[in-house]
Amino acid sequence: MRIDTRNQRLDLVAFMGALCLFFSTLEYLFPKPVPFFRLGLANIPVLLALELFSPGYVLLLVALKVVGQGLVNGTLASYVFLFSAAGSIASALVMLAVHRAGRRWVSLVGVSLFGSLASNVVQITLSVTFIFGSTAWVIAPAFLAIGVASGLVVGVFAKRFSERSRWMALMKERIGAA
């Protein structure tokens, strides 16, 4: 059965939104080396979506991920949600641009790296502007280093999954992205 209609695509986007929530629950199973550290496993379905959907659907998936996480974690009415939304949207826009522009030369690892850095830059800027003040720029290099590490981990997993997964191959075939 091919995934042709808008409703079928929306259904697959919703399923991938559920995968984002699932991966974010897996994140709690890993120890945090520093309090603010997040691996960003919920971005794995977003990276996979780059290979399946047009930009509009990818951005819709990001919106579902952010709002879904806000509802599950109960952070929808707090600054955490705004930070998460800003970081995720910036990350998605950069990943879409890099994926489109460098399709032949940049793998999902590189795309993930750029996305992670974009998210971190936006979140650092917001926290410096609204919470900590300009003196907090001193911690920016450490956070960017963390962003590089988590972006690499997530990117390597997404690339490996995209290459080896029967499910991804099936979805690419059905959606006509193979």
Partner: protein
């Protein structure tokens, strides 16, 4: 995967109040909380919101919030303001910077606590986006059921096997299955109240009016 259970304590507030009413109470509380300028009152409100969040089944990581408030205060102290209280090495602690830092830190922590008690997964969002969110939660429950099959030693293949089995199933958006119309947010929320009972109404009205009164008085 490691077999750590992610089970949360029960949301006792959800047994007595609907998601919409709790959310409205949260919005009123946010506005009143942000209007509060007294440090002592704001600190008391933060404690009250933390108790409410715990009552709503949320686990609060106190260490995390102590660190958030401390770091915000510390960074504020780097910009001196007002009377000098003491000097610790190169750091000058001033009254204005200290008060502003603690106020800001408490505001951040308080907003998170309000959100933790006021937002829950069965909160229905309006429009087609709200319907899609309901579908996300419908699939989330299905995906969660298969997590026992995921093995850390064969992460990619075990996740892949689970996905092949789950999707596409017989749950297509055109089929009219539960979730497509936003009626089922999942088994976890099945026992949550859809209307607010007397006890729930008393708690919510008390929270909203107390915070509003504090914002007016102080």
């Amino acid at each position: 995967m490691p077999r750590r259970r992610l089970r949360r304590p029960p949301n006792r507030l959800a047994l007595h109040a609907s998601a919409r009413d709790v959310f409205l109470c949260g919005i009123v509380s946010i506005v009143a909380f942000l209007l509060q300028s007294s440090l002592i009152v704001r600190a008391a409100q933060v404690m009250a919101f933390a108790i409410l969040a715990t009552y709503a089944g949320k686990r609060i990581r106190w260490g995390y919030f102590v660190m958030i408030v401390s770091s915000i205060t510390l960074f504020n102290l780097l910009t001196p303001l007002g009377r000098v209280l003491l000097e610790v090495g190169p750091l000058t602690v001033t009254t204005g910077a200290l008060e502003q830092g603690v106020l800001k830190g408490l505001a951040i922590a308080g907003l998170v606590f309000i959100s933790l008690f006021a937002v829950r997964p069965d909160l229905k969002l309006p429009g087609s986006f709200g319907g899609l969110i309901a579908r996300v939660f419908y699939y989330f429950e299905i995906v969660l059921e298969s997590r026992q099959r995921i093995r850390a030693t064969a992460l990619v293949s075990s996740i892949d096997d689970a996905l092949v089995e789950i999707y596409p199933g017989d749950n297509g958006i055109d089929s009219g299955e539960p979730g497509a119309d936003g009626t089922d947010a999942g088994e976890r929320t099945a026992r949550f109240a859809t209307t607010t009972d007397t006890l729930g109404a008393i708690v919510l009205i008390l929270v909203a009016t107390a915070n509003t009164a504090l914002a007016i008085v102080f």
